[in-house]
């Protein structure tokens, strides 16, 4: 809700409403049938603030990229494709995501990209900072390598080994956008 004054003293006073946004890409899961064009187009979405009020409505463009408005502590993004509803809670972190060189940073990016990394860690989303290959992350890294033309494409000689080395870190950063 915005607190707006009724102005009666000329036009010098005004009230500012700032919305903060984060860019979100809605994409199909990264595997071969979808190729490189994975954006989810034409999905209706709405965004609610932390009180449940709808603050934004729209339809996703071809690349699936939307600017989600964040109000207060968090916003909830609801994707309304047909009768199915996907719901995401979106917070703005004041600090950047963990570095891609750390296990936690690799896990968070794999998770954002839709790979299965289990449910360990404090948030129950598999981001626990425990180094690969002690858990599902090595398997997910292997899938990412298989999905990435720069690693698995024609003429590439990088190892498909499930180890998150320099090339795989670059692929993670590029795909996740952070």
């Amino acid at each position: 809700m915005s607190f707006i004054a009724r102005q009666i003293l000329g036009a010098t006073m005004f009230n500012t409403i700032t919305v903060r946004t984060v860019d979100i890409f809605l994409q199909k899961s990264p595997n071969k049938p979808h190729g490189d064009v994975r954006g989810i187009e034409g999905a209706r979405f709405q965004v609610r603030d932390s009180t449940g009020a709808v603050i934004q409505t729209g339809t996703t463009p071809a690349d699936g990229k939307i600017q989600v408005q964040i109000s207060g502590a968090f916003s909830t993004l609801e994707v309304l494709a047909g009768s199915a509803v996907a719901q995401y809670t979106i917070k703005i972190r004041d600090s950047a995501a963990e570095a891609v060189t750390t296990p936690a940073g690799q896990q968070r990016r794999l998770r954002m990209l839709g790979y299965h990394i289990g449910h360990s860690g404090p948030e129950g989303n598999g981001v626990d900072g425990i180094a690969v290959p002690t858990k599902e992350v090595d398997r997910s890294a292997l899938e990412l390598q298989a999905d990435t033309p720069a690693i698995n494409g024609a003429g590439q000689t990088n190892a498909m080994d499930g180890v998150v080395g320099n090339h795989t870190q670059a692929a993670l950063t590029s795909a996740a956008g952070v």
Binding site: M1, S2, F3, I4, A5, R6, Q7, I8, L9, A11, M13, F14, N15, T16, I17, T18, V19, R20, T21, S50, A53, V54, I55, Q56, T57, G58, T59, T60, P61, I66, Q67, Q69, I70, G72, A73, I92
Partner: protein, 204 residues
Amino acid sequence: MPTQYTVNQGDCFSSIAAQYGIPWKKLWNHPDNAQLKALRKDPSVLFPGDVVTIPDKENRYESRSTDARHTFTKKSEPTHIKIRLLVDDKPRANLPYELHVGGSSIKGSTDSGGYLKADIPPDATEGTLLAGVGTSQSVYTLAFGTLDPIETDDGVLERLAMLGFDTDGDLSAAVQGFQTKEKMTLTGVVDDALRARLKERFGQ
């Protein structure tokens, strides 16, 4: 006997003046309201519990001939709202909008600075602003007359929230967020310097 009116959330001088049929300037400049005027400085922003003295109406005598029809018009003073829309600190410039107040809707477009100005009835308490078209539309819920004075903690919180700071936690954390962004000394304390900067950024 003058009436002592106690301000509720959502009241301002224009809404109270409209309610009693008195021009707001007369109310604002009335000697009995001098103390309140000095305290709040802005007739648009009052705090619940403030007391406004409503003077008695004065009779006005008009002479007209008896053989013709005469029209007397009740003067109603328009009030307006002026809002600046920003997204991540950039103006939402030249953006088409629809403002729904009461039963009517006003269509327009923000200017190059992201400002929009609209006349509203003095007794309107809420409105819905739909901004943008096409793939993304924003919905703003507006509560008119609810902005509290910047001298109060409520007034500071409201302004910080509208500038996009997270005010769900405590005031001090939100103030620090603002101070960080403004490159001010991090104190988390609301003082005159903070109020001045906040007023400048928010516009009132």
